[in-house]
């Protein structure tokens, strides 16, 4: 199809130049109203096609980065997006498990380092949830947390934050408070 149209276009162009050279060739066609109108319609269709092709093409230009700015270094903790660990994606369970282990380890260390407990005592406290007054934080690190009440489950339905992210946030804030001596 494309070669055919290209061929027709080439022939038409060559013929056009030939008419310029030799005016007599123009008389081969009877340029009546219909033919000229057809040419006009064809030009209109082609013009619209070209105009629409602009909408579809990507403009390309070299993008330069910002040499004026200083090299940006990350802040510790930026690699764990606790808000997004709970999102539905591949490997979510694994990432959650990793983060939960990390929180558990941090809690153990904090209780031994700042609470003056031995490691076994700290592990026992974490397991029965008596290390903090915050029920959300306590339940987050228990292997078998108590079933939350109906009211709190209903409230959870209306929260935008995932329950996993919420409990992680509570644990971290609680550890922070213990370290700063606010508990």
């Amino acid at each position: 199809m494309r070669t055919a149209t290209a061929f027709v276009g080439l022939v038409a162009t060559v013929f056009g130049f030939a008419v310029v050279v030799n005016r007599g060739l123009g008389g081969l066609f009877d340029l009546d109203y219909l033919v000229v109108t057809l040419v006009g319609v064809l030009a209109l269709v082609q013009g619209v096609r070209y105009g629409l092709s602009r909408r579809k093409t990507q403009f390309r230009a070299t993008t330069t980065d910002d040499p004026e700015l200083r090299y940006r270094v990350p802040t510790p903790g930026d690699d764990l997006d606790i808000e997004f660990v709970g999102d539905r994606s591949l490997g979510r369970a694994h990432r959650r498990e990793q983060l939960r282990n990390r929180l558990h380890e941090a809690a153990l260390e904090t209780l031994t380092g700042y609470g003056g407990l031995t490691r076994d005592e700290a592990a026992a406290r974490l397991d029965d949830g008596t290390w903090t007054d915050d029920p959300v934080a306590a339940a987050a690190l228990q292997d078998a947390p108590p079933r939350p009440s109906l009211a709190s489950r209903l409230r959870a339905l209306f929260r935008t934050e995932s329950s996993f992210a919420r409990s992680a946030r509570h644990v971290i804030d609680e550890l922070d408070a213990i370290q700063e001596g606010r508990r």
Partner: protein, 424 residues
């Protein structure tokens, strides 16, 4: 690099075709519109006619001060010259400012047109930070007159900005608490350098005649012997943790932990040398840095240069260097003098560095950790990182290693506070 189409003029043919078709279809027919279509053809020819010439330009950069002090403003003047024989109708230049420098005034870019042999000049100012900064190649982006074609090349000229802090010991660092002095009183028979007269005592038989206090004998008639004590200096190695993991900062424009560690190491280096100790330098990084402990002016100058310009302590992490921390640690242990004390500068952002400190401690070196704090608390993740860092500090303290948590005050006041805590 070859030219590519920018697609800026895509659809310019529509102008000619639509004008022509309207000229035919609108009744009565409009010859004037057909003439307007010719204009569209001219535009299409303009858009696709010219190719972009290969830009051949030479660059020269001038710094008004190539060895500034930290925080000084350095003005950079860049001159570009078209050495080719083609007109460059559209030339865009983006200078390769070193990553650790920030442009504080003006902009490191220029858009211009250059005839053959002509020059263009632009200038901007950067704020100097410690280190040796080499300019990266300048981007040269050239287009043809209509902008339908583009070509990108790079051109460079060697430009280096070397910024060495003078390391004056004006900061009164109280390092007495950081290093333990050998207070072994070694009585000697010879008076000389490094000895101090301490006291006299009653003469005992067998004391050398040299050490009899003859003045006193003349004054009082008592025989007494002078005592000397030899002061022995401490040997200290300053170890900077400059692994890629340690390049962290609490805010976007704050100095990162490695920069702060290097700065603190510089202050400590000078203060210890002034106190008469033998000081060495080492880095925990992909690039090897080792300066064995020593004293004297030459040593001071060498240490200063290493701290300022050694690539291991650069303000930005070095790319893709293979680094085996355990090998580096073993090699460091072999080199350390047996009696060396270690001051480790590290943000303590992972467990490995804690292990390293404890291993050095187990080898019998007295380890003190000075830790610039890179943590922040805006997000739960950042708070968790802060909790973990504090846990690492308490773990180190439990094993008897002293840790100084250096937040955003000056190191001197942080040290003073720590000493109060330790002596209480």
């Amino acid at each position: 690099m070859s030219a590519f189409e920018t697609n800026r003029w895509t659809g310019v043919e529509a102008l000619a075709l639509l004008a022509g078709s309207l000229a035919i279809l609108v009744s009565p027919r409009q010859p004037a519109l057909l003439l307007a279509g010719v204009l569209g053809i001219a535009y299409a020819a303009y858009a696709y006619g010219g190719d972009v010439p290969e830009p051949s330009v030479t660059v020269s950069r001038e710094l008004d001060d190539t060895t500034p002090e930290p925080d000084d403003t350095v003005r950079v003047t860049v001159t570009v010259r078209n050495t080719g024989d083609a007109v460059l109708p559209d030339l865009r230049l983006v200078d390769g400012v070193p990553p650790a420098l920030e442009v504080t005034d003006g902009t490191a870019r220029l858009g211009t047109a250059l005839r053959p042999g002509k020059r263009a000049r632009f200038s901007y100012a950067v704020r100097a930070v410690r280190g040796e900064h080499e300019w990266e190649p300048m981007w040269v982006i050239a287009r043809n007159a209509s902008g339908s074609n583009e070509r990108v090349t790079e051109t460079n000229t060697e430009t280096v900005l070397r910024c060495e802090p003078t390391l004056s010991a004006t900061e009164n660092l109280l390092l007495r608490g950081l290093t333990t002095q050998y207070t072994g009183r070694v009585t000697t028979d010879v008076a000389g350098a490094g000895l101090e007269f301490t006291s006299t005592r009653d003469y005992r038989r067998g004391d050398p005649l040299k050490r009899v206090d003859w003045n006193r004998l003349a004054r009082t008639g008592e025989l007494a012997t002078t005592e000397f004590r030899e002061e022995r200096a401490a040997t200290v190695v300053l170890l900077v943790d400059a692994r890629e993991e340690s390049y962290l900062a609490p805010e976007e424009d704050a100095p990162n932990a490695v920069e702060r560690a290097a700065e603190a190491a510089g202050e400590t280096f000078v203060a210890l040398l002034d106190g008469g100790d033998r000081v060495g330098l080492a880095a925990f990084a992909a690039e090897e840095l080792w300066l064995s402990p020593g004293t004297g002016e030459d040593h001071r100058a060498r240490g200063r240069r290493l701290l300022a310009t050694h690539p291991a302590l650069a303000p930005t992490p070095t790319e893709d260097e293979v680094f085996f921390p355990s090998i580096r640690l073993r090699r460091l242990q072999r080199r350390l003098p047996a009696d060396a004390q270690i001051i480790l500068f590290s943000p303590l952002v992972d467990d490995y560095v804690v292990t390293a400190a404890r291993r050095l401690d187990a080898y019998g070196h007295l380890v003190t950790v000075v830790s610039p704090d890179p943590t922040a608390d805006e997000t739960p993740g950042r708070r968790l990182a802060r909790v973990e860092r504090r846990n690492r500090m308490s773990r180190l303290r439990r094993t008897g290693i002293r840790v100084i948590d250096w937040r955003d005050e000056s190191l001197a006041s942080e040290l003073a506070r720590s000493r109060e805590r330790w002596s209480s």
